[in-house]
Each structure stands twice: as structure tokens, then as C-alpha cells.
């Protein structure tokens, strides 16, 4: 309900003077809370007001015909209920340039598709989970790993919170141990043998910047900033500081060196996020 022209003008005015509406610095992340659930692989992440829950589960399956030696890694994203982006989208106005009614829902639905596709791309392109390690016996039996990401409360910047939740959940998850002796493969139930962690190659972190008129940048946009931004760029960096994914689709055009600036800041902040995830999992 705070989408009105006054707030839009106020957000822009204060950004010009280097102030953010929630008092943060330009490159400050909101405070991050990662709570591990009682089950392996169930994690809830709170980034400022944004709350996401991720759950990893596994089951046996036949491998895909064209990739007999690889396990299957599925990411499913769910926005239903309070977390959906349609909340509070009713209000129109020059602020979001969006008319009330279906158009707002249309725009929100497209945003949800964009977020889930990006989340999938980042997790797949950075090869967080080594799919070869999920193979039990080539061509017959593989593990089918599935991460469910539920977005619970929309406080802005779902993508970064979603990545943190998914990655923490994958690292925290334990699968039943498998012993392969010659032809016979025995799968120990959780009671018999302690479950084994997945082989995680590296932990990526995603940093999203929102930008406003004449190249004003802010990291980790909050609800209001995300509604009034003129565009955003998301940069995913893995644990050995390599670029894994960049997505800048739409919004006003920006200078190339603004992109480089974002990358430099992203590398710095990615280290911080990855350490936060690692310390939470100890």
C-alpha cells in the first residue's frame, strides 16, 4: 500500500544524497539469519523482512536415457500463499507504471517465472551438486535429488535469499550411505549407518543490485526499493571467486563500468555470504 508517487520521489531523493529508506549503507546487506530445521536439509533463511524455506529430499530413480551415469537434480520453486508477489500489487500509480487489476498480476507472475528460472540457472550452472556422485549403478539406479524452495514473506530481493536457502539446505542435507561391492549394492537405512553428506563442489552466492536514474546503485534492494528501481542486475559468484551467472534483463541501460563496479562489490560480499552459510552449518 506504500506504492505512491510521494514514496517514489522520496526514495529517489534520499538515494541522491546517499541515504537508504531503511537506514542501511549503499552496499550493506540486510541482516541474515539462517536457522537449521530439525530434519537434515530443512533450512529457513531470513534476509531482512524476506523469509524463505528450503527443503532437500532424495529418492531412488532410473537415470535419464541420454545421461545414464548422472543422477537427477530437480529444483522446484513455490510462491503460493503469503509469499506470492501479487500481495499488495493492487495499487497502481505512476510509481510502478502499472495499472491496477490483471496487469499487475501479469507483471508479478512474469517476475515469479523470472526468479525461478534464474534460481535454477544459478544452481545448475555453478554445478553446486556433482551429479556424477549421485549415480549408484550406471544405467540402472541413481539418486533423484530435489530441492523445494518456498518463498514465505516478500520483503524484496527474493533471489538472493532463495539461493542462500537452497545452498544451505543442500549442504546441510544427509543422504543414506551406499556400499557398492562388485555387483551387489547395499543401501543402508538411516538407522543402520549414519547418513552421508552430498558432495558439494562449491557454494555460490548471488548478489542483486538495484539501480535508479543516473547510475545510482544499491545492494540487496528492500521491498520499496525493488518497487521503485529502474532495473536490477544479479551476479552469482562461487566460492573460488569466479563469475557463475550474470543477469541484467530489462530496465534502463547502464554503463559497462557500472557493471564492473557491481562485480567488484559482488566478489567482496560473496565471501561474506559464503562464510555466513559455512558458519551456520557447523
Amino acid at each position: 500500500m506504500e506504492l505512491n508517487a510521494n514514496n517514489q520521489k522520496f526514495v529517489n531523493e534520499s538515494l541522491k544524497k546517499g541515504f537508504r529508506v531503511d537506514g542501511r549503507g549503499i552496499y550493506d546487506l540486510r541482516n541474515l539469519k539462517i536457522d537449521l530445521g530439525n530434519q537434515y536439509g530443512s533450512v529457513e533463511v531470513q534476509l531482512g523482512e524476506t523469509r524463505v524455506h528450503a527443503k532437500t529430499s532424495i529418492e531412488l530413480a532410473r537415470p535419464l536415457p541420454d545421461r545414464p551415469s548422472e543422477g537427477i537434480f530437480i529444483i522446484s520453486v513455490d510462491f503460493s500463499g503469503p509469499g506470492s508477489l501479487q500481495q499488495g500489487e493492487k495499487v497502481s500509480g505512476p510509481a510502478s507504471g502499472v495499472a491496477a487489476g490483471s496487469d499487475a498480476e501479469g507483471r508479478a507472475a512474469a517476475q515469479e517465472v523470472a526468479i525461478s528460472r534464474l534460481l535454477e540457472k544459478i544452481l545448475k550452472s555453478t554445478r553446486v551438486v556433482d551429479v556424477e556422485s549421485l549415480c549408484i549403478s550406471v544405467g540402472e539406479q541413481v539418486w533423484r535429488l530435489r530441492v523445494d524452495v518456498h518463498f514465505l514473506d516478500y520483503g524484496g530481493n527474493y533471489l538472493d535469499a532463495g539461493i542462500i536457502a537452497a545452498v544451505s539446505s543442500l549442504s546441510h542435507f544427509r543422504r543414506p550411505e551406499v556400499l557398492k561391492v562388485g555387483e551387489t549394492t547395499t543401501i543402508y537405512s538411516v538407522e543402520e549407518r549414519a547418513p552421508v553428506p552430498l558432495s558439494i563442489n562449491n557454494i555460490p552466492a548471488c548478489l542483486t543490485f538495484a539501480y535508479f536514474e543516473n547510475e545510482l546503485l544499491v545492494l540487496d534492494p528492500s521491498y520499496l526499493e525493488e518497487k521503485f528501481m529502474s532495473g536490477s542486475i544479479s551476479i552469482a559468484i562461487n566460492s573460488n571467486s569466479e563469475l557463475c551467472c550474470i543477469s541484467k534483463a530489462g530496465g534502463i541501460a547502464i554503463e559497462p563500468d557500472t557493471v564492473n563496479l557491481c562485480i567488484v562489490v559482488a566478489i567482496e560480499k560473496a565471501k561474506f555470504l559464503i562464510d555466513a552459510i559455512r558458519s551456520a552449518l557447523k
Binding site: M1, E2, L3, N4, A5, N6, N7, Q8, K9, F10, E13, S14, K17, F19, R20, V21, D22, G23, K90, V91, S92, G93, P94, A95, A100
Partner: protein, 243 residues
């Protein structure tokens, strides 16, 4: 207005009307035998001759004939003569549609502004915010709001709000702020000059000299909702030190 021990009710609890008389007896000592008509305020409803509460909150009465429940909610139900802050959502032929956080957007007639005539009427664009008063609210038709005081014809505060920043708060907190009894307002007032407009529909409009002071005031008010008075003073001292 509330009796010494606040009687806390939960939804579905039966209220016996003796409460009004009971409280009244303590103060006025007059015996009130015959059945006087009782007005049920928000939070209460009548079901086969029993009064039940549908809200969780404290019972309150005005000792004469009305009894209601003070309960906190976020979804605003328009009540006549309440001041609210709304956002213009659409322009209609005779005025504007204003979103005030209730089920349906309210109608604001183009002429219901201080000295507005058929020819010179204020020209609000979509997205501007207005401070207005609810003049018509009933279950079946869209609420009606106005931006001027009907009897004096003056705006006295109502009308378009320029610039400033709007924050969302729960209705109960806004009610407290509206009455002006909240300590946080004075504490901030000692240090910063700021303008404030409180809408009973859960919006507070703040405007101070510069963006950073407006941010400070807005965040202070937002955080003070659940702080005790001493913590409020502490918080303000800390915030002000940053200036």
C-alpha cells in the same frame, strides 16, 4: 474510559450486559432496572439474544449505552468521521478512486476540496496521496471520503500531501499516535522539527527538513510500536546522536 481491571475477551466469549451497568454502578450508584437500549460497537455481535465477541481485545464502554472491544487489526474497515491517508488509484468522471486499505477503493468527489468549484478543481494525478475524512461507510456501497471540513468549509489539514514519506503501521498503533498520547512523538519533537499526519487506516505520513531526518523520524516511529517508554527514550537518544 476503561475500567480499572481491563476485561480481556476472546472471540466467541459471551458478554453479559451487566458489565455496563456493573461498571456504571461503581461510579454513579444509581439503580438501572429497566432494559435500556445498548449500542454494540466494533468487535461485538448479537446471536440469538446473546452478545458474543468476535475479536480478542479489551472490553471498553462509555458508561451510558455503548460497549465495544478495543482490538488490533491491520485490515481497515471505514468508520464515518475517521481521518485516513489514501492513494489516488484512478480518475473517474466526477472525481477520483482512492485506495484506503479497505475492501473497496473509496470515492473522492472532485468538488469535495476547500473552495473547489465546477471550473477550478484540484487536479490530482494517479499515485498522489491525500489526507481525508470518511463521510459515508456502509457494508454494501463503496465508502465516500472528503478533503475538507464540511461545516467550516476549510481544509484544516485535509487535502493533498506533498512529498514526505508514508509508512504502514497497525491500526491500534495508529489510533494511539492519532490521539497524540504516544511518548515517541514528543521525544522526537524535542530534537527534530517534523510534520506528521496519522491516518486511522494504518498509514503515517512524515515530513522533516531533509531526507535523512525524515528517515530517522519514520524509522523511530515504526520501531517504537512495541518498545516500552524507557526503551523509546534510549532509542531516540541513540538515533539523534547520529545526526
Amino acid at each position: 474510559m476503561t475500567s480499572k481491571q481491563d476485561l480481556f475477551v476472546v472471540p466467541g466469549m459471551e458478554i453479559d450486559l451487566g458489565l455496563i451497568t456493573g461498571i456504571k454502578d461503581e461510579n454513579s450508584q444509581t439503580e438501572n432496572s429497566e432494559e435500556s437500549a445498548v449500542i454494540l460497537g466494533p468487535g461485538l455481535f448479537e446471536k440469538n439474544s446473546k452478545i458474543l465477541s468476535f475479536a480478542a481485545g479489551n472490553i471498553a464502554t462509555n458508561f451510558k449505552d455503548t460497549i465495544w472491544v478495543n482490538y488490533n487489526k491491520k485490515r481497515y474497515i471505514p468508520e464515518v468521521s475517521e481521518s485516513i491517508i489514501g492513494t489516488v488509484v484512478a480518475r473517474t468522471a466526477e472525481g477520483y478512486k482512492v485506495d484506503i486499505g479497505s475492501a473497496q477503493p473509496a470515492n473522492l468527489n472532485g468538488l469535495s476540496f476547500e473552495n473547489a468549484t465546477k471550473r477550478n478543481r484540484p487536479n490530482l494525478s494517479v499515485g498522489t496521496i491525500v489526507y481525508a475524512k470518511v463521510v459515508l461507510s456502509n457494508k454494501y456501497i463503496e465508502p465516500e471520503i472528503e478533503c475538507f471540513n464540511r461545516n467550516t468549509g476549510k481544509a484544516d489539514g485535509y487535502g493533498e500531501l506533498e512529498d514526505g514519506f508514508v509508512i504502514k503501521a497497525s491500526l491500534g498503533y495508529c489510533f494511539k499516535l492519532f490521539k497524540g498520547t504516544a511518548l515517541i512523538l514528543e521525544l522526537l519533537g524535542n530534537h527534530i522539527a517534523y510534520e506528521l499526519a496519522v491516518g486511522l487506516n494504518g498509514f503515517v505520513w512524515v515530513k522533516a527538513g531533509s531526507p535523512e531526518t525524515t528517515i530517522l523520524v519514520a524509522n523511530a516511529i515504526k520501531n517504537a510500536e512495541h518498545l516500552s517508554e524507557s526503551d523509546c527514550a534510549l532509542m531516540v537518544k541513540q538515533l539523534v546522536s547520529f545526526l
